[in-house]
């Protein structure tokens, strides 16, 4: 198992290199080059910021040299200086990271729990009214644009019913935990919707497939209860493919957080990203994109490890 994990970690390195190459190419492709926006914007910006950025990128150097310098700095945790605030990008990200992690985490957990319950129940009770209902609901969930769903929830629960706050985060010190959690409810639901729908469908299909397997018949032939048959023999096998889908979807979850945070004025990285986009603050944009990609890669590693823990065949491969 240790060797397996080590191998997976080693495999991450070229993946991350590839990601940085693409992201660097994206910066370079910005109109007028990475610092172009800064110069053309005409707004007042501390000239030393521009200078520092130009110097670090070494814009007079060939592109590969610039890349090596950029990645060298990034490895030391230096993602450059924001155009709009002149503060180090790393610092800005770290400041906003907890809010985003909180939102993504709660959405992820919510989606995982609901998907597990819905998916299992619809598979066990295939073609029941519950199954039909959850199938229809999940089609709706997948087709629903995140931002529109957010707007509708704000309209219903915030404006019409007045039950929940529609924007901001509430302060932990001021209103306490419960108050803070109230702010979390709507954004988490909005962000998780698509994944509840997708994962529950996937688990349903996967579990139905597992329940048709020969070993399920063996388990029943042993006289095991239906609970043990589904719980012990079915779910364990059915969860294996679902875990990798959950990991793959993290990139989407990060993208969804950008929209959700914008709608609900959630003070996280996603909202900062949209603001940075309007300010054409490329260092900040790049820093956030890089963070998102690294999160995805790391999460996929975790998924691989979970996968190997669930499926003994992988370990010995």
């Amino acid at each position: 198992m240790t060797a397996y994990i080590l191998r997976r970690v080693l495999q991450m390195v070229p993946l991350l290199l590839g990601i940085t190459v693409i992201l660097f190419a994206v910066i370079q492709a910005a109109p007028g080059g990475p610092e172009g926006a800064l110069l053309e914007s005409g707004r007042f910006i501390d000239p030393s910021v521009v200078e520092a950025y130009r110097a670090r990128l070494g814009v007079d150097q060939p592109v590969p040299v610039q890349y090596v310098r950029w990645i060298g700095a990034a490895l030391r945790g230096d993602l450059g200086v924001s155009f709009s605030t002149t503060r180090p990008v790393t610092e800005m990200i770290i400041e906003r990271l907890p809010a985003t992690l909180e939102l993504m985490g709660s959405a992820f957990v919510l989606a995982a729990i609901l998907a597990f319950l819905i998916g299992t129940l619809s598979a066990v009770r295939q073609y029941s009214w519950f199954d039909h209902l959850s199938t229809s609901a999940s089609f709706l969930g997948i087709a629903m644009p995140v931002f529109w769903f957010g707007l509708i929830l704000q309209l219903v629960f915030g404006v019409w019913l007045g039950w929940l706050p529609v924007a901001g985060t509430g302060s932990l010190s001021g209103g306490g935990l419960l108050n803070h959690l109230q702010y979390l409810v709507l954004p988490s639901i909005v962000l998780s919707l698509r994944y509840v729908a997708g994962w529950s469908r996937y688990l349903r299909g996967s579990l139905l497939g597992a329940l048709r397997a020969d070993y399920i018949r063996t388990a029943r032939a042993k006289g095991l209860s239906e609970g043990a048959v589904v719980g012990v023999h079915g779910l364990r096998n059915a969860l294996i493919p679902v875990v990798s889908i959950m990991a793959l979807n993290l990139a989407g979850l990060f993208g969804g957080a950008v929209i959700t945070e914008t709608i609900f004025a959630w003070p996280g990285i996603g909202r900062m990203f949209v603001q940075a986009m309007f300010a054409r603050d490329y260092p900040l944009l790049m820093g956030i994109l890089l963070l998102g990609s690294v999160m995805v890669v790391v999460f996929n590693l975790v998924a691989d490890i979970v996968y190997a823990a669930l499926d003994p065949r992988i370990r010995y491969e």
């Binding site: 048709r212 020969d214 003994p312 065949r313």
Partner: protein, 379 residues
């Protein structure tokens, strides 16, 4: 917990006399009550494209220590009939009617809970494909322990020791170490041994073996057959051995029932069935095997295809492929009729054939299987 253990001991004690009787009678004694008695079992699958008449009113009996071979080709209903006995017919299949009497109790009338108590304890099953019949993500120790813990109320440690003993009994080397291995770490033959160990864990009175050697090589098949026979001598269970291979069961079955199109078309003691088959299908199957005395001889094949089970049987299911068929075969479904037994032990149920013309069909296949022209003379 203790109550369950008590019940098991009672059951074990209750079945003891039968085991002894079966062993003494060497499968010949017909006075012993059958452990398993299937009567008029009918199973259908209601699919979108029509109803599949998989099993059409079959009846057979199985006595302690006896081996009944259920022989048939794919689609003959042999596997479905076994799953019906276990109560494991997958949807959309339903058991339309019939009785499955296990030690006198009708399993089809029992509640699902009662059936679960019976499965794996009084009647157990080994399946065809040992590669897919074990759960790939659970250790074999865990899977072996399940019936022990479920039915005998063993604790984890006790079940582990018992599992190791079972593994040893079926011939897995280093059993204690291998309990924590997963199925993919065993060979096909070993997996089938584990399946057998699992089925026999609670010493059931009936073992249903559904083509347990079909997926294995001949040398491994011989090992598995030898192992099962050994265990049968030891535990005295009755065996329902399902196979498509008429040759395989010649060596160890006591009785053979041949299935075709969802019905039993012939049933007889093993010696008699091969010496004096009284159904054209049985004769056709035997004739299609390569001859031992003359390997060059052209094989006799049964032309045509098995019947479409979506149409309810209104004629003899074999009529369209039968060289012997007469008008009556198209009009009336032949029931299983008693045939005088050449082995001397004649009597009801000794030899049964579902052919109107069983009387015209005597003798061993090699000598007496006629060609088409001769068949014409009879008609």
């Amino acid at each position: 917990m203790s109550g369950r253990t008590g019940r098991t001991e009672d059951a074990a004690r209750a079945s003891e006399p039968e085991v002894v009787a079966g062993a003494d009678g060497a499968g010949g004694s017909r006075t012993v009550e059958p452990v398993l008695s299937v009567r008029n079992l009918t199973t259908r699958f209601h699919t979108r494209s029509g109803t599949v008449h998989a099993v059409n009113g079959i009846s057979y009996e199985l006595r302690a220590g006896e081996t009944l071979a259920l022989v048939g080709e794919s689609g003959s209903g042999k596997s479905v009939s076994a799953l019906s006995v276990m109560g494991l017919v997958p949807p959309p299949g339903t058991i339309e009617h019939g009785q499955v009497l296990l030690n006198g109790r009708d399993l089809l009338q029992a509640s699902e809970r009662e059936r679960r108590d019976v499965r794996g304890r009084e009647v157990a099953m080994v399946f065809q494909d040992p590669m897919t019949s074990l759960n790939p993500v659970l250790t074999v120790g865990r899977q072996l322990a399940e019936p022990l813990r479920r039915h005998l109320g063993m604790g984890a440690r006790e079940a582990r020791a018992a599992s190791a003993a079972l593994m040893k009994r079926v011939g897995i080397p280093n059993p204690a170490d291998r309990l924590s291995d997963h199925p993919h770490q065993f060979s096909g033959g070993q997996r089938q041994r584990i399946m057998i160990a699992m089925a026999l864990a609670c010493r059931p009175s009936v073992l249903i073996a559904d083509e347990p050697t079909t997926a294995l090589d001949v040398t491994i098949q011989a090992q598995i057959v030898a192992l099962v026979r050994e265990l049968q001598d030891e535990m005295g269970m009755a065996i329902l051995w399902i196979t498509h291979d008429l040759a395989l069961v010649a060596g160890f079955a006591d009785r053979v029932a041949v299935m075709y199109g969802g019905t039993i078309v012939e049933e007889a003691g093993v010696g008699e069935l091969y010496a004096d088959p009284r159904h054209p299908y049985t004769r056709g199957l035997l004739a299609s095997l390569p001859r031992l005395d003359d390997p060059r001889a052209r094989l006799t094949s049964i032309e045509g295809r098995p019947p479409d089970l979506k149409a309810p049987p209104t004629s003899c299911p074999f009529a369209s492929r039968c060289d012997w068929a007469v008008d009556r075969c198209e009009k009336e479904v032949p029931p299983l009729m008693d045939v005088p037994s050449v082995s001397g032990r004649s009597g009801p149920g000794q030899h049964r054939s579902a052919c109107w013309r069983w009387d015209d069909l005597g003798g061993a296949v090699d000598a007496a299987f006629p060609g088409r022209a001769e068949a014409g003379e009879f008609a």
